[in-house]
Amino acid sequence: MLVAQDISKRYGAVQALHEVRLDLPAGQVTALVGDNGAGKSTLVKVIAGVIQADNGSIAIDGKPVRIARPHDAQAQGIATVYQDLALCENLNVIANLFLGAELSTLKMLRHMEMERTARDLLGSLDVRIPDIRVPVAMLSGGQRQSVAIARALLGEPRVVILDEPTAALGVEQTAQVLSLIRRLRERGLAVLLISHNMVDVRAVSDRITVLRLGRNAGDFITSEVDEAALIKAITGMAADE
């Protein structure tokens, strides 16, 4: 689906990314892991169009694409859910799902159509929110994360990037979000999961790409890699050293 190759990015004296390669196959969850400063955020920002790489190319389905602005990424079907979610807490779930993309006729909101679509979408993702007409401020952290992910899906993307989706959540809410991520995979989307939490990564990902100090430090199949090899790739040393 999406292939990023030879991505390099320099901030002054710091080489944040050095000829990095990232594959995101359709219908698979790819976890992007690495220590702080490994270049995960920089790579995500390049793919999402927030910043531009100095070198490198991105191709979708084999065709090279140019991503200079966030708008370009969205137009190419790349949706990003940032850690801060960017929800309007005073608005209800429906209004947040359609934020900036309201359905309207002559600038008049089409409430019923938006509510129907919202209910169908949340239902198909098995997201359970007792009343979607209450302000998002009343929802739990897991429900908010689910709303943010569902919103990303309204644009019918092909690639979904999730930045630390479980960072601030408790055990049960993490489980909700992980099962939502599995449903994204079942829909045939290419999912990129950025996470610090190795338990979550192992629970939900198909493949793991490791970055260390701005370079590729290994690609693994989640079901085949053992803990020690993964830690060695992330830290650059064997676990028992």
């Binding site: 960017a86 807490e89 608005l91 934020l99 993309a101 309201e102 309207s104 159509e113 209910r119």
Partner: protein, 371 residues
Amino acid sequence: MNKYVIAGLGVIALTFQLLNDRFLSPENLTNLLMQMSATGTISLGIIMVLLLGEIDLSAGSVSGLAAVIMAVLSVKQHVPVAAAILIAMGAAIAIGAVHGLMFTAIGMPSFVVTLAGLIGWQGLLLYLLRRGGTINLPFQGFVAKLSDTWLPPWLSGTVLAVAVAAWIGIVLVIRRRRAASRLPVDELWRALALPAVIAVVSAAAIVYLSADRGVPFLVVIFAGLVLILDLVLRHTVFGRQIFAVGGNAEAARRAGINITRVRVTAFMLCSGLASIGGLLAASRLTAVNQGSGGSDILLMAIAAAVIGGTSLFGGHGSTWAALLGILVIQSITNGMQLLSVDSSVRFMVTAAVLAAAVAVDSLARRGSNAF
């Protein structure tokens, strides 16, 4: 929070009625409604910027300036009154655009931009009035007639009947269409409760006011603006964008909303509504003078918005806050005047009500966040 405000209003009305039995007389209620319309309209504009989490301190000065521009043009320059009104409102809207652009393009805090506006536009008002200091409006002129026009019972009754019938019709159509789209539908009595209550209260008010001179046209203008802007806020894309920017401007920006345009438009709306308020005030006085738009008008307009339940932090409130809040404030003012109480006491009582309203709101909010 509306139920607290309505309860408070009831307490205030009852108290003044016990202290002076003329308070709830048709004549006095008519006066009260006319007194509140101008400041209420200014308050409506202030709500538009409060919803963004911003403030407009210039609304009083702009209201006075617009009235003076209208008076100078129509009385001194003999411009047709309709053109004078349109030019005055256009000038106010342009002033709002300037405020909005100084806030968005330069990044000045709205407090400072409109504080400068408060001082500067009052200066321009004084400059335009410099000879004479007062301009009287012709008693038979259009502007003066606004506050000397009363709807006869048959007309106000017909308007109310048509409005309520349309409202109930829309409620029923929406229920049917929601059911057809397999969306949850409120029980019928719940859906019809609000229209029924509003219809009964309005009908009672019309009958009661008709014992005096009828429904004042000024109030029809104010209430009409409340209603129209409420529909705009709840049912248009622009209204949704106002709440989005007020709730989380960064989220709105990232969602592709042009937050600069939303903000500038809100300031233009605020100044435009202030100009209408200024014209209504000039109509009641049949004159403009150096005090037009000055004194405590701005502070009462802000207080009304807050007492009515509009948050100063943006994202929470409705246009009905202006109506309820100004009813509370004008009841106190009017009741105190009936009792011949000094305005020193009036200010202190208004302050206590403002503080109490915000305290109740803060406590309720803390309670709702406790779960």
